[in-house]
């Protein structure tokens, strides 16, 4: 029971981190970034390559963050910026295109068998040698800590700093915020960089949990989180984050508690739950009753 709860908490934290990253970009750009998983994949491959070269762990870590942030900025400048006023379907398909492009590049460069990343191997050890916490690994604690730090840090930034105020204003009504003197490019760039930082953190955590990095790394997780943020409610950062967290918890509990011959149908159960929630609360599970629909007129 405790084990199930801890597993659920760990997966929930990782998904919450991803949800914050996706929600931040959605807030300022109204863009659902399908290519977010490929950012994580790129970070994971950079960890694999650098650790294979025998780089020290801190250097791999720095490279991973640099690669992911650079890639997210490149995406912003090359695709998101020109498409800023395009219809939502066009933006979504464009991120689809980037996702497949990045995955194909990884496939070309590293092959479908992938690479093994060995970074911070000590973190995969159990917390205790024996007894109740024998199957709790350090990385679980790191994941939960990261999740808490990210959520608290972002809340402080959004509530207490002027750039956070700009970001909230842009998320609420982008055009009015610009009229009132919010520097659009600065706010968007900051959101994109922050979401890149989160993607890099997620790729480190995921790599420690599953060291084998393949081109479809984190793809399933991204799909589930994308679904989760919409279920939670995308027009507020905290509802999106809660959505990501809850779908992580739900997935983990389904995985642990379904009978063995039904575990292959975990996704079906999660998606059925998603459909049920969406039908009951189309604006988001955690959205306040007064919430307006997400689309801009």
């Amino acid at each position: 029971m405790l084990q199930t709860a801890l597993n659920a908490l760990a997966l929930g934290s990782v998904y919450a981190l991803m949800a914050v990253g996706i929600g931040l970009v959605f807030g300022v750009l109204r863009l659902v970034n399908f290519a977010y998983g490929q950012l994580i994949m790129a970070g994971a491959f950079s960890l694999a390559v650098t650790s294979e070269q025998g780089w020290p762990d801190w250097a791999s870590l720095l490279t991973c963050f640099a690669v992911v942030i650079a890639l997210s900025l490149l995406m912003e400048v090359a695709v998101f910026r020109p498409l800023r006023n395009a219809p939502p379907a066009t933006m979504l398909v464009a991120t689809f295109a980037i996702a497949f492009l990045l995955q194909a590049v990884a496939l070309m460069k590293f092959g479908s068998l992938g690479k093994v990343a060995t970074i911070f191997p000590g973190l995969f050890d159990p917390v205790a040698d024996s007894g109740r916490f024998a199957t709790v690994r350090w990385v679980t604690i790191v994941a939960i800590t990261c999740g808490v730090v990210a959520v608290v840090g972002l809340t402080v930034m959004l509530e207490r700093t002027s750039v956070g105020l700009h970001m909230r204003a842009a998320a609420a009504d982008f055009r009015t915020a610009r009229l009132l003197g919010v520097n659009a490019n600065r706010v968007i760039t900051l959101a994109v960089v922050l979401s890149g930082v989160l993607a890099a953190a997620v790729s480190v955590i995921l790599v420690i949990q599953t060291p084998l990095v393949v081109p479809s790394f984190a793809l399933r997780d991204t799909i589930i989180v994308l679904v989760g943020v919409v279920v939670g409610g995308l027009d507020r950062l905290w509802t999106a984050t809660l959505g990501g967290f809850s779908i992580g918890v739900a997935t983990s509990i389904f995985t642990d508690k379904l009978p063995t011959d039904a575990t292959v149908y975990v996704d079906s159960f999660v998606f059925l739950a998603v459909i049920a929630v969406l039908l009951l609360r189309p604006n988001g599970l955690f959205a306040p009753a007064s919430a307006r629909p997400v689309e801009r007129a």
Binding site: L83, V93, A97, L101, L272
Partner: protein, 342 residues
């Protein structure tokens, strides 16, 4: 907006299909497959367009109707004796019965329609992102079940020994029928009502249009065309896996629609033919291809990279698609009756 213009909107897509068929019949037998693929893609993308284009609601679920149609049409045309050997876990009635090519296609369409109507009944209340994600969840479930449930298909394996009955002529007829049905629908009262809800759902509702009912009709019709397309596809390939009918094809067909122009039938057809052709050319180029006396040689795996980049580029340059979401019309110099004449 007179009848002649409407007819041009039908005739131009039909002529495009005929032209591609003509080119395909001239091509060598090894190249014919690319034209075949393009025509089958037209059917699926037109199916997608009937719902997404007319309603303005993005759906990722249409591939599940293609998948259901493909699995049904495939299962029903494998001879019973062969089926017993290659798919031993099937439900007995699926194992015993088989039908011909045409019946299997009609059944695929009917199954697609029924599935779409059942799913649409609750889901069509949603719009915007919620609708997109809910339809995606449907696709996720369909894929998950087809991938593991061995009583209705090959499970994680491959369904083989399906008769390859989709030749150039059958693919052409399929595309022509799909376009005609889509055109008739968008000209009908139902189609116009749905497009009214696309332009402004609140106003349409205020004048008495049931958004839910109109979307549901289109979803069902779209499911039928998609199921039909799945049947054509499986009879073209001869083998099928659940993985082939999931994310990549969803992405590719949606991209075809958006690249062509989401809001017009012409856009659906042009996008399908163009992107499909491009895809085939690039895959071919990986083994070296000759264009205008030059040998274009692309490293293996590069086709997806180039395709992704090209599509992103087209979308950046023309966010509303190549056709801009407009139907084919008579040229400006064509003589016409005065506007507003009774």
């Amino acid at each position: 907006m007179n009848l002649a213009n409407r007819l041009v909107g039908l005739v131009v897509p039909l002529l495009l299909v005929l032209a591609v068929t003509g080119l395909g019949s001239l091509a060598s037998s090894s190249n014919e497959i690319y034209f075949l693929t393009a025509l089958v893609d037209v059917v699926i993308v037109v199916g997608l367009y009937v719902f997404v284009g007319n309603s303005g609601v993005l759906s990722f679920g249409q591939m599940s109707f293609v998948a259901v149609g493909a699995f049904a049409a495939g299962l029903l045309t494998i001879p019973p004796g062969v089926k017993r050997n290659i798919l031993p876990d099937l439900f007995p009635f699926l194992e015993r019965h088989s039908t011909g090519n045409l019946v299997s296609l009609l059944l695929a369409a009917a199954l697609g329609a029924v599935f779409a109507l059942l799913v649409g009944l609750p889901l069509m209340r949603l719009s915007g992102l919620a609708a997109g994600i809910a339809t995606f969840a449907v696709l996720g479930i369909t894929h998950n079940v087809l991938l593991y449930y061995e009583k209705i298909g090959p499970g994680p394996g491959t369904m083989t020994s399906i008769p390859e009955t989709t030749g150039l002529v059958q693919a052409m007829w399929g595309a022509l029928v799909a376009i005609l049905v889509a055109w008739l629908y968008q000209l009908s009262r139902q189609g116009r009502l749905l497009r009214a809800t696309r332009e402004d759902a609140a106003v349409a509702q205020a004048v008495g249009v049931s958004v839910h009912r109109q979307r549901l009709w289109a979803f069902g019709l779209s499911g039928a065309i998609c199921g039909f397309g799945g049947g054509l596809l499986v009879h073209q390939l001869g083998t099928i896996t659940a993985e082939q009918l999931y994310l990549e094809l969803t992405f590719l067909t949606l991209a075809m629609l958006v690249v062509g122009g989401t809001n017009s039938l012409l856009g659906a057809v042009v996008g399908a033919l163009l992107v499909s052709g491009l895809d085939s050319f690039l895959v071919n180029a990986e083994t070296g291809v000759h264009v205008l006396g030059l040998t274009v040689d692309v490293p293996t795996g590069a086709s997806t990279v180039v395709l992704g980049a090209l599509m992103a580029l087209i979308l950046v340059l023309r966010p509303s698609g190549i056709t801009g979401g407009r139907e084919a019309r008579l040229p400006r110099w064509w003589p016409r009756r005065a506007e507003g004449a009774p």
